[in-house]
Amino acid sequence: MDRTAAEAFLSPERAVSEGAALGQLASSLDGGGVLIIASRLVEFGARAAILLAPGLFRLDFTPQEETLGLYPRVLGAWEVDWRAGEESWDGYRDPSGPKPIELIGSFTGLGLRAWIHVLSFTERDALATHFVAKAEIRPTA
């Protein structure tokens, strides 16, 4: 896929427009790419879209008190290599954990790489978890 086509996925206007119901914000990155941020309070047991990169992927989370279901949903016939920062994974359960949850998706056919960080704060008396997510999506070349 040529660079022009890949750049269609890097539009902050599109990320804001299609993620409007999620309250998403976005901006262009220096050197190319898009930064998308969103936050959400999610009830335990609900599967909610935390972050939407239009045409590329949607990140769904299902929080429980001490476990977290993660669904990276690819929104097209893209070949994607997802990698998790496993050393950060226990940070959901352990509030003293030092790192946000980290996920990296390499869209090899598109020449794009998504670097995702998610902070979580569990409100146990509200039976819910607050997520703050950001994704930096950049061309790899």
């Binding site: 959400r40 999610v42 009830e43 001490e66 359960r93 352990d94």
Partner: protein, 247 residues
Amino acid sequence: MYRLTFSGDEDLLDVVLPLLPAGVHERGEAFVAYSGAPFAAAVLEATGGAVDEVPADWRARRHGGVVIGSVGIRSPFDPVSDSEIDVVIERRGSAFGSGSHPTTQMCVALLLQLEAGGAVADLGCGVGTLAIVAAKLGWGPVVGVDRVPVAIEVAAENAQRNGVRADFAVADLAVDPIPLAPLLLVNAPPPVHDRVASSLDASVEHVIVSGIVSHEVQAVIDGYAGFEVAHALGTEDEWIALRLKRS
């Protein structure tokens, strides 16, 4: 508060999840979504679902934690459960075992297969969930050990909260002596199983094993020499629980 109930697949979720900030709950074959404002026309059109009104506070529509057979495990913030055996579990800090993890739930399911009676040791007890369930089912005496001090502190509080007698102590199962009993509950990673398996004596009749994933199962079973698998449970995301009995 409005509730929308509908059926569909992942392709439908691709359309509606970006329009439903609070997400969806799976209820059997159906999805349920909640919203404080009327649902968008695009959501109603895409799902063709039915809308009714429910309490605004989502805690008021919860049914009380998780239910495994006759046992309900809930947090102090959940409504009272109508389960025959109602277990209330507090969790703090890095301590494990609120009951929300599938390994805890599978261990309870396997525990329910045994006729209650006799001593139990919960090795890696976290906040005491399995030990307390065992005590409520009629097992005793019950002991629990964990290497995390806050877990033991909370486990003792949980035992008191549930009105059961169980003794909890801080112990590192990698180096400290391992308490043994006719029934062992070991919801812990493989290195703990290695140490427990090498410490067994003739007093141990059953071991409920979890904290492992599918590719670790055979090595763990092999470690428990003289035992065989009486029942196995698993989840889609590869967590495994086994009930071992002496061969």
